[in-house]
Amino acid sequence: MKRLISMLLLTAILAVMVAGCGATPEPQVIIETVEVEKTVVETVVETVIQTVEVEKEVPVEVVVTPTPVPPPIKEGGPVFIGSGGMTGKHFNPIWLTSNPQFLSFPLILPGLTWFDDQVQPVLDLASAVDINEDATMYTFTLPEEAVWSDGEPVTAADVEWTFMAAIHPAVGQSVWAQNFSSIIGASAYQAGEVDTIEGIEVVDDKTITFHLSAPNASFMYGTYLGILPSHLLADTPWEELEQNPYMDAPTVTSGPYDFVEFVPEQYIHLKKKDGYWGKQVTIDEIYIKMFESTATQLAQLEAGELDLALVPADEMERFGFVEHVDILEAKGIGYYVTHIDFRNEDQIAMLNLPTEEGGKGYSIIKEPKPYLQDKRFRQALAYAIDNDAIIQVVAGGYATPIYSSIFGPDWAINPDLETYAQDVEKAKELMGEVGVTFDDKGTALWDGAQIQLVYLSNTSEEARKLGEVLQQQLGDVGIRLDIKLVTSSAFIMAAINGEADLIRNAGGRFGADPSVTSLYYTCKAGWSELVIGFCNPEFDELMAQGVATSDPDARQQTYWQASAILNDELPSLFFYTPSVFYGVNKGLKGLAPSADPGYVTWNIEDWYLEK
């Protein structure tokens, strides 16, 4: 018995010792003695009658004690940036999906273009771009002096190879297939029918031209793919590319920083390159820390262990009192809506068909609700809801209401949209027109039974709050709303399978350019086809026109019309676009608060540390 306990104790002690191995004694607190130039007033007696006081610089020994917490950022860094967790199979631009990657890739593996703080495309690796008259040819030029960290030059061949890899049948990812869809020959390559992409032309070592099958004024919204060193990777067979260690540890880089380390779920460590050919940066070292829990991230910001972190709206007031943190605000470009699932039987049947027959191979069992098919009912829902209350409760008041998904840039906002200001009477009236009856308790009835809708979202707190507000407001017009919270990975399937009628969605880059909306609401767009069931040919036509021309007036007219369609048909209930808040250590200067947190490092060369 005693032996058992002593054995346990011994094992425990050993375990703790092993865990702490590599120990060095605690560093002593050093009192620095510093040479400081101090201005000293010396009295000089001159032969002239007056005594003159002369200021003279005299070196003086001064004892400097290290300042207590919060510690000022050390000279040159390291700078600690807080971020959410990383998703994505590999730490590589092809699998670009989450914030830590957005923050780090432009620093190590820049793409031809990136995005500025208004989320407008800017040149990054490319030094110049030439676009022809009708936006069907984009020619990018790489800087002459551009080299990889191993000395090899960055060439157009690298660009071509990377683009091919991004949509290759064996390794490519859908997002790039989407972004490169207008390049001639891209879809054939993606389907594995051809070996090269016809529309990519390598003009010379530093020049590359993209030929598009149709005019596309928004092509540069999709060229942000980080360029990879083909001289290291082109020899690997495509099927084995994912196993190549470079995919998780990009040791050879072309950006202003060197890749030091990527510790999964902990941090990414980058170090400034010496003698870099391109952007000159001042910050020596950067750590991007990844957090699952916002509370932990904010605590670290407050304690001075993080220099930059996203601050949610309802923590704003607190950080107003934290001395060493500045709050920077940016008008967001994401949306906050609930999609309405009003797919009809034919659409669902189509989705259930096997892929060979043109379907998607799902097995959706859903009884479509006839009243949702009628846009008047959906408008009634909008009238029943008080958008201002939602902004107050869910976004803490820090948001701008929106009435369609085309709400930015400013020129794209249609001023004549219906705001659906809360009007319960009007809501009931519209519902009545569709065929809904109300009993004497105010319950909304369809075919004699109360109308029941289901709200679906992930388990985050604001999603839950939105559900609860909707529950009450829809309850006030007699509709019963049930709330269904699922984990993020189950969310998409639950939405596709029709387990809900109102599906919360947030984010996206709508405010950057109206063309983004076509990713969501055109007939074949993922959300429309799979979940909402919205298909308006006129809308599709307008969205296609919008990218075909660069004439701002024509674009404005087109997008205003498209916006009006969305506002009238209401495939989603549009709520707001949230502002984005960054908590920044006062010593870190030069940041431009970006409308999308992923792009806040875009102007890294402007960042500097102030004592």
């Binding site: 859908s174 297939a177 389907a191 984990t487």
Partner: protein
Amino acid sequence: MGKYILRRTLISIPVLIGITLITFALIHLAPGDPVTGMIDPTLGDFNPEMVERERVKLGLDRPLPVQYAMWLGRVLRGDLGYSMINSRPVGEMVGERIGSTLQLTIAALFLSILVGLPLGVLSAVKQYSVLDYLTTLFSFAAVSVPGFFLSLGLIYIFALQLKWLPTSGMRTLGQDPTLFDYLKHMIMPVTVLAVSTIAPLARYARSSMLEVLSQPYVNTARAKGLREWAAIMRHAFPNALLPLVTVIGLRLPGLFAGSVIVEQIFHWQGMGTLNIWAVMNQDYTTLMGLNMIAAILVLVANQVADVAYAMVDPRIRYD
């Protein structure tokens, strides 16, 4: 006894296989799979072929029994496979994290024994005294607070207000790792974990100590002229430790599982966070690997506890 241990070990093998089968069935019951979690509907003209291709790569298109057989085959060869979400070897991920979790849980167990045992014994010896009431109150109060609440409270007080300790994480980045740095980061999470064990330990210690103290042989020891303390420590105390073996035994599997919430809040990369990450993302291979390792550990821990119990209480026979 030896035969008993051998028999138990042999039976453990089919039990283990049974556990993996159940795990396999459970994780496939949930709707979706690792690939659907990665679907992004904003991708226009949504391409089912790319999703299908990913599925084929991961072997998810094969019938379920085949998938299970393939997994089992690999495991028997010592290969736990690769995560379906980030392609890292499962064994490597577990190896990285198990040490971190053990750091916390063993230290916590240690701490709770160090604090709980004496508290319990003292309470029993001085039953109904002020000390007894106080320790009762304290140990119950400590266990009544939810883990996440205590964690946040400690962070608020010690890291934000008093600034004595770092808020979270396993070490301070940007500095060289030192033992002292590790220890500073361990204090709060270990305390939170220990707190939930101190109370039951103290209570069990107290109740079994009370039982033993009322035994005749203790009175005999006193009658023999032994001082009170000697009587307690030499005669009563060792026998009172019996149920403690059960309590510690029950805690053993938990040592390796870690606490999801504590690890999440204190940003501690351990088994708890790995587990929940794998569940949330439906990472089948990681889940199977994790569960199998957990199963093995539980089986071993239970066996050790049973054997220890039999060793400690000579009246128990297993036959």
